[in-house]
Symmetry: C2
Subunit: 369 residues, 2 copies
């Protein structure tokens, strides 16, 4: 036997850590299922019936590779945005697109700016390509555009990441504030504007799309409001030369055929999207009411989840989280201090929120006891 | 406006070339559909009806992210192979897995050995991570294990790639020959054994799986015999430390949920697989008969396609290919000289092979004319 493969020096240095432990993994470790799946910001209301039908119909066609250009979906997304297809790239979820983007821009030792406690999978990609992360604290439980830009300038960052609305806090900035941020991006830095939760946000959250602005790339997804997390469909909006550059590194035949069909049908069903938006708004209100009934406050949210302030420090919130999980409620707290005083609760179905309502007082008592 | 993103020096040097132009892209450019889809080695017989049913049923569950470990599928694949789940990794097709593997092992300037004319997507990944490709000629229309190993030794290669059965020639080596190759892999080189077409090959083509052998990683897929190319499901078989290393770089939630369900159902339907294997064998015979009726020879094939020797040089074969495409027959010729005297014809349905049979004499006449 020989010594086996030689990894790259970078890979040898990488930690084995994973960004998230999935709920199925937790269920297997626990030996029993969750009764409420409120931890991954999925859309419990599911995809549009038309998307389900389109996917079921496409199952028989799955012997064919998917269209490498996702032409139909890309064309309709571009038309919906009033821009050219050359400004849109469909990819394997925002996670996949972020991976490609980091690969395109970040060499070993390059600096990247994000917020302390923001999306771990972005950080996973940056670290995975040898980038150095500079993490800027939240301000007033919001990502801080001015501080992010200042750090980008100071560290000559290749990328600066912001999510609007933010995950995990659910906070958001106005379109004007984000547009001002775009205008102030330093030379040579690209703003990564993650709009995964945009469909849940009030009007006036997203600046107008300027497809030729080379300073920003925007990421959107079918995983949240469209209820297709398991289909892995996201899209990037950006200047044509940047979008074209993805063709140097992306997995050209990586998009599942059924997923393309499902996303297209989902995108066309605006009425269903509106229903989901209403249900999510109602669900946020109910989570807030449940929290309030237990003496807890919640943060305003423009997403499909609510950050529930457990009213003490991170250790206490972690105990609450563990007690909820012990009571079969899947929730998460992907926060850094001091935001780790919160737990993050995704909007669920009525029965799931009933289960959360029943479990929360017990979990709080156990965490206090 | 600022100057926009700064790409890495490697990305700046990368060509914009893509490994393959998809048939849908060609259809859009031509302005009309193909009548026979015989160019991508897909399985025209489609997935098992049980897989179709499983995928249709899973459509309603697609609001959930897929299991990040593909636990059920991985467990059953391992059981079927008589090895531990730690020796198996499910990923987004062999294309996705090859990309991760190259990223794990190939830094800029590292050498990688493959055959001249072998799988372009592997080369795409190697180039994409800055590796240097050393290409070894075919010998007697087969990949040449001895020459591949000699080149790996001479160039201190990180990876040496071989497909058994081979694509695009359809040729194959015996299990003994491949096992001897594994035994002779140089220290510090990893053998990448692509077995995408194994299910179509005679008994005795694959060496026994030794899950702890660190010198080889094997790649298999649901894209070919299982008829799920559009679902993007492949798997790697290798020593546990190598399999574990993928967790440092892979897109943990990248597997579509429907795809996992479809692959599992397909894997369980051995009777359907046997049917497909029979139909593919019959289809290969028919392609050979059609070629023979036109005065052309074919190469023996252990895959779901046949290399048809057009009997002259590459320029002539390229003319035949163009004339077939002009007659709405989608075929490819991903060969390097002297193998480029051939065109590659995937097994099709009876009506598709009827269309090929009708078009071939005309295409040959036009190419000669």
């Amino acid at each position: 036997m020989t010594k086996g493969p030689r990894f790259t020096p970078l890979v040898d240095r990488l930690p084995a850590a994973v960004p998230f432990v999935g709920p199925e993994t937790q269920e297997r470790e626990r030996g029993r299922p969750f009764v409420a799946r409120l931890g991954a910001n999925e859309s419990v209301f599911g995809p549009s019936p038309r998307a389900r039908e389109a996917m079921a119909n496409e199952a028989a066609e799955t012997w064919k590779y998917g269209d490498s250009l996702s032409f139909d979906l890309r064309t309709e997304l571009a038309a919906g945005l009033g821009i050219a297809p050359e400004n849109v790239l469909v990819g394997e979820g925002i996670d996949g697109l972020l991976g490609y983007l980091v690969r395109l821009t970040v060499a070993e030792g390059d600096n990247v700016v994000t917020s302390l406690g923001a999306y771990p999978t972005f950080n996973y990609h940056v670290t995975g390509y040898g980038g150095e992360l500079i993490k800027v604290p939240y301000r007033d439980d919001c990502e801080d555009p001015d501080a992010l830009l200042a750090a980008a300038r100071e560290h000559d960052a290749k990328l600066v990441y912001i999510a609007n609305p933010d995950n995990p806090m659910g906070s958001w900035h106005s379109a004007e504030r984000i547009q001002a941020m775009i205008e102030a991006v330093p030379d040579g830095t690209l703003l990564v504007l993650d709009e995964a939760y945009l469909e849940f946000a009030p009007e006036g959250t997203a600046p107008a799309v300027d497809p030729d602005d080379p300073r920003v790339i925007r990421m959107r997804t079918f995983s949240k409001a469209y209820g297709l997390a398991g289909a892995r469909v996201g899209y990037a909006i950006g200047a044509a030369p940047l979008i074209e550059a993805f063709n140097k590194v992306r997995n050209h035949f990586g998009m599942a055929r059924i997923s393309q069909a499902g996303a297209l049908a989902a995108y066309r069903d605006a009425a269903y999207l509106a229903e989901v938006q209403e249900k999510v708004a109602a669900g946020r209100n109910r989570i807030a009411a449940i929290a309030q009934a237990n003496g807890l406050s919640t943060l305003p949210s423009a997403a499909n989840f609510v950050a529930v302030d457990c009213g003490a420090d991170g250790d206490f919130a972690r105990r609450v989280l563990a007690e909820l999980i012990a009571r079969d409620i899947f929730v998460r707290m992907p926060f850094a201090a001091p935001q780790d005083r919160c737990i993050r609760v995704s909007v669920g179905t009525e029965p799931e929120l009933d289960a959360f309502e029943a479990a929360l007082p017990q979990a709080l008592a156990a965490a206090r006891g």
